[in-house]
Amino acid sequence: MNGTPAIELRKINKRFGPVHANRNIDLVVKKGSIHGIIGENGAGKSTLMSILYGFYHADDGDIVINGNKVSIPDSKSAISLGIGMVHQHFMLVDNFSVLENVILGAEGGARLAGGVDKARQELRRLEEEYELRVDPDAIVQDLPVGLQQRVEILKALFRGADILILDEPTGVLTPAEADHLFKILEVLRDEGKTVLLITHKLREIMAITDTVSVMRRGEMVATRETSQTSMSELAELMVGRSVLLRVEKEQAQPSDTVLAIENLTVTDSRGVQVVKDVSFEVRAGEIVGIAGVSGNGQSELLETLAGIRRATSGTLRIGGQVIDLADRIIDPAEMRQLSMGHVPEDRHRMGLVTSFPEYENAILGYHHDPEYSNGVFLDLAAIKKTAQTEIERYDIRPPNPLLKTANFSGGNQQKIVLAREIERDPQVLLVGQPTRGVDIGAIEFIHKRLIEMRDAAKGVLLVSVELDEIRGLSDRILVMFDGRIVGERGPDASEGELGLLMAGVEGEAS
């Protein structure tokens, strides 16, 4: 693996207004290797890769590809330099066929007819060479995410990519699909391609990469041979201090049932059953985790319990009340009155109004409480006081309740939502993806708060696609697949075991 490096970056700088997203970045990537780039959210990994792919321009610095200094003003030039990218959010046209997606931008002529035939042959060749099997005529939206990702890889290879950048590729995959992806990446490396893997998951770095570079707050802080480093060293480099990778907690002391769901079925707007006959209960003093690959009904389940989505049938028991969900619509305000707090999965879409100042978000949903409102006017002084208290208690930074919520980082935004829901002292807390897009430091904090909730004899229902989070926090783990709960396991269940359940392999055994 000698010779000129595939990629060499020298002193790359990129600023977005006051944010210095990339600061004097140096990076050397060897040809024919899998090179990992790890860092917390907001460390500047994606920005750096976007510069390499021509999505953004660097303010200064040099890019050297295969020994030649180049400029990459747009994606087109990146493609012609042999750089391909698989984005975190797939860049696919959902209602196009695989073939149409692959040829988009590389059609080979003003009329499609000729190019399509050639592309079909080329796809067949790529399929055989890299074991990337996909039906070229399938419509992308009908494919499972693992296959959609394969289409993205095929797109890059079809354009003759020698350098493949993958941005957080495993976020949407089951463990089995992720393993399959890693096999593909190994084949690609063995065929002489260079792979750049962007991730925040330490385990992936250790499992697959040859070399790893660590980014922190816009700077490249270290590069290591993967075989010469360890998870804890990398974690420390990422955060800049030593971190606990494992949540510390006492044995749970569950008591009475605080939330029970029986035979819950939910049908979505397309008329598809997304939650199928689900029953379970949550007791005071325990965290029940719902594991599953995203899109298997967990989100809909959570939304239904929160009163955002209507159920087709099922009963809900909470706070001494029995509610027949088929009969009537519960709404979020009613759920709050029944002492249920809800930290939604997507804080931007449901948890916050990001254009509001922090203090308004601190009471959103509770703004009718007599504490904050007399029915006509809001008591702004009381609201600001609450906000200030929560800011201090949750170490929300910057500590300014008047600041627009959009200007807080992801971790701090999440803390605003968490503070609002926990501080109302609900009996049951629904939490969706509590640490999505949150840096490691804040993750530690949020996890501690959830354990505290549990230890205060509250019931916590946790939905997360991060298996580590589920395993670290939950006292019982329910696995959802295709709208059903396919198994229940204890917190000591192995990742492999849960992974199989999540993939529906042991669908009947529970």
Binding site: F55, S75, K76, M91, V93, N95, N101, L104, R111, L112
Partner: protein
Amino acid sequence: MFETLILLLDSTVRLSTPLLLACLAGLYSERAGVVDIGLEGKMLGAAFGAAAVGYISGNAFLGLLAGIGVSIGLALIHGFASISNRGNQIVSGVAINFLAAGLTALLGQAWFRQGGRTPPLPEGGRFTNIELPFAEAVRDVPYIGPLYGELISGHNILVYAAFAAVPLTWWILFKTRFGLRLRAVGENPAAVDTAGISVIWLRYRAVIMCGVLCGFAGAYLSIAQSAGFIANMTAGKGFIALAALIFAKWQPRNAMFACLLFGFLDAAAIRLQGQEIAGIGEIPVQFFQALPYVLTVILLAGFIGKAIPPKAAGIPYVKERT
């Protein structure tokens, strides 16, 4: 009875033509993700431009070119506001409608001093009807004669152009590189951008195509169907075309049928005006005028299949900063 039907269908074709041209115009724009509520304004501007130049030059083709020019100009304003500057597409479209309504009346009065009208066009200044070969010869053959001689033959060239534009649009959309990219940019512009294609230039081209077809539609109104411009002569046709586009689920062939249906309703309304129908009585003309909108609302409410617009329609493209 057969004669009546042929006459009714004949006027259906005439009334459908401007709808069809405008509908296809909207199709290019919306398929590329640019919602265009300004079809009406572009048609009106084109109608005025075509009539003014047709009157001055006495040449219908120059009139048509002028109409297209005006329409493209308005389309580019819409493009500049909504593509380059990522403004709200509805607001920009509404502004175009106001702009066209006001400017045509104002300039018409300033230039021709006939209350916002253009003077009647001279002979060469408008498109006249074309007799297809053998139309005269088969006239007396039963059924085929009227069918060919009345319904198919004897329209002006813009009518034929409009109906030829249907398969042409289909071919461009589904069989060419431009069409593939156009459809892609209306669904997921980020996919187009990352494939190394300029989203902005692609959307501008779509908007220009829209301008060209609206130019045809407007010119048809003022220098083919009638012989001059009258203030506000589009009378909501741009909106009906937009309704037809939704009704057609953004498909060229469906667009033709939707426009023919709406044209037929219009023709029937004219035909039945003031006539008593046994058992029902006189049907108010407004009933027919409202029908296209009513049908569209029923469709949107999900009673006749589902109309799913291009996913990125109406959303300006901003590169994500992550």
